[in-house]
Point group: C2
Chain length 140, copies 2
DNA sequence: CTAACTGCAAACGTTTTGCAACTTT
DNA sequence: AAAGTTGCAAAACGTTTGCAGTTAG
């Protein structure tokens, strides 16, 4: 299900630096999993992926780095599952299908999707984002 | 912030029974907090509210009962905060503002709000619901 | 040398679970 | 007695933190 594409470290290093992140070897490993095909990953997924084979990255570093990637805008958090946070390397405007039976998250291109008729924001606040989660259940 | 309206036990008993829930004294206490004004409550909120004064309801029972209320459709879960689940006694169609600075959740009436242009559901799945969470941040 | 980063383990807050005791029929 | 419900404590889970040790500029 989770595929891993090999990327040159130089590419990843450049990507991180472009966003003002010091590219350490652990951060490059973590960046690699987001550069690869699968874009919806929990912290646990990332931890497992970077620790396949001989590499060793601790949980603390995974969480620290994920927080850093979110802060710097390379990756965004998706709150869809009560149990865990997903990290999404697709930072363009889009929404999500969330399969409550499997816990799987998939993209809905924001192209064409429109949310209209929202009331104005409460005064003294500014918009962080609009999340649309379409929850669905697999039929038996 | 959290107000409590007194309700007759008979009313609450009837409400629970209507949904096929055996109305024990603890379940009545928990139902009471949802019958009252405030509709967005975390499990912790409910635990505190039912344990003001002399009443004693354990955490396990709070969680058991909340799960039961969700299963029977008296209350719905709202996933907006990564740290905790909200329970919402407003089961009609509506959406939410979520203030990321305070953790406060407030309703957006679905009246007038329209989500259009969503792609068809994946085959073999059926719709559970569409959640729209407008995340906002308090200005400093 | 210094500042930044990492790993471990322990702590944290929320939620779940096992089980004995208590109700209710 | 049987079935359903409750409370406690302990455990589980994802996440965060403190700090000593390591690495990189």
């Amino acid at each position: 299900m989770i595929t891993q594409k090999t990327c040159h470290d130089d590419e990843l290093r450049a990507w991180l630096r472009r966003y003002g992140i010091n590219p350490t070897s652990q951060r490059i490993e973590i960046a690699r999993v987001f550069f690869s095909r699968c874009i919806h990953l929990s912290a646990e997924d990332v931890f497992k992926l970077v620790n396949t084979g001989s590499r060793r990255v601790s949980k603390a570093t995974v969480y620290n780095t994920l927080a850093l990637l979110v802060e710097k805008g390379l990756v965004r958090q998706v709150v869809a599952d009560p149990a865990k946070i997903f990290y999404d390397s697709n930072t363009g405007p889009h929404h999500h299908f969330y399969d409550v039976s499997t816990g799987e998250l998939s993209d809905i291109d924001a192209h064409g999707v429109k949310v209209s008729g929202l009331p104005p924001l409460p005064v003294g606040t500014s918009l962080e984002g609009v999340d649309v989660v379409v929850r669905l259940r697999r039929d038996q």
